[in-house]
Amino acid sequence: MGEAKHPDFLQLLQTHAGILHKITRLYTDNPEDRRDLHQEMLYESWRAYPAFRGEAAFSTWLYRVALNTALTFRRKSLRHVDTADIDAASRLADDLPEALSPRAEMLYRCIRELPEADRAIITLHLDGYDNDEIADITGLTKNHAAVKLHRIKTLLENRLKP
């Protein structure tokens, strides 16, 4: 696949690889799906790269491609995490990043339990995107994005209350 065609693409991808890893982790709950989603993100970003005109930062563009891939990803088996499902909960526990503090682990779990679209909104927000950018990336109106974000933040803060 075309390294020679887009010599700067792999370099940029290497620099921003963390975005893909973070989203991959948030949208899958087992290593097999994670590998597949990661491959899918690489493929989609390579395919979309010729249309990247540099109007936005590469990281914003990559975030958009990665989130869209995650939201349309066809898992080998669709496993929705249900907190009442002991198997799913233990699977999730096995799949946490290593060495997170208990509070960070709790936040991570709470975000992964959100609906997928909400997960995208809060992830973008926590990574510093403003409401205009969130609306532009997700396709929501600015007001709708703000309302949703407020609801999600309230929910997360309530869940994180000691």
């Binding site: 696949m1 390294e3 792999l10 370099q11 991808l13 290497q14 690889a17 963390g18 975005i19 893909l20 890893h21 973070k22 991959t24 982790r25 994670r34 590998r35 989603l37 990661h38 491959q39 899918e40 690489l42 493929y43 989609e44 970003s45 395919r47 979309a48 249309a51 990247f52 563009w61 958009r64 989130l67 869209n68 891939t69 939201l71 349309t72 066809r74 669709l78 990043p97 290593e98 060495a99 997170l100 503090s101 509070r103 960070a104 936040l107 991570y108 609906p115 997928e116 679209a117 995208a120 926590l126 990574d127 990336i137 997700t138 396709g139 929501l140 309302v147 997360l156 803060e157 994180l160």
Partner: protein, 205 residues
């Protein structure tokens, strides 16, 4: 809120350190996962190849196999069905190829596009399964009976042969419809629901 930001920074640092199969500057990468749009387009393309194949077979039979005007009528009708089928499949396929969105559109536009393509393909298959399978099978039997008995008039005057064709069509219609729906539901049902759910989340206010 500050705590959320702090905790998120920690999560970002830890998850960002993961190393899956990231491409190397020297080696590039080879995606091995299954892309759904590719699957849909491939499946539709195969369907088109089959339609072209059957169309050629029906035309060939019309020219070389049919001995009388009745057999020609049967193969003419089959060719007609195949042409309608081709029209039904070709149009959405062209649309799918033309509107193959890149992932850098908004999430809502991308999910809507995936949903529309998949929904069109499934509805089209259900429609073809329910409406085209029974007459195609009936016409096949009719041709065999005409070849054996000599003319359509003899076939239609024999109530047993007419009954066989009618029973076949009556049984095949619901069976064809059920089977197509069932197979599509098994293959794509969960995925379609998943897209629908995400789309609803991005639309609801």
């Amino acid at each position: 809120m500050e705590e959320l930001d702090q905790l998120w920074r920690e999560i970002s640092e830890k998850t960002g350190r993961d190393r899956l199969s990231a491409p190397t500057a020297a080696g590039g990468f080879s995606p091995s996962s299954l892309n759904l749009m590719k699957t849909i387009r491939q499946r539709t393309r195969w369907k088109l190849y089959f339609i072209y194949l059957f169309l050629a077979a029906y035309l060939g039979a019309f020219v070389w196999l049919a001995q009388n005007w009745e057999s020609r009528l049967v193969f003419g009708a089959m060719t007609g069905f195949a042409l309608v089928n081709l029209w039904l499949v070709q149009r959405p396929y062209a649309r799918m190829k033309k509107q193959d969105l890149l992932m850098s559109e908004s999430s809502r536009a991308v999910i809507q596009h995936y949903y529309d393509c998949l929904d069109t393909m499934l509805r089209q298959e259900n429609f073809i399964g329910a409406l085209f399978t029974p007459p195609a099978a009936m016409l096949g039997f009719l041709f065999a009976f005409i070849e054996e008995k000599g003319s359509a008039a003899i076939v239609f005057s024999d109530w047993r042969l007419v009954s066989i064709m009618l029973v076949l069509a009556t049984l095949l219609a619901p069976f064809g419809a059920w089977l197509t729906r069932h197979l599509n539901k098994v293959a794509f049902g969960k995925y379609l629901d998943h897209l629908k759910e995400n789309l609803a989340d991005l639309k609801s206010s």
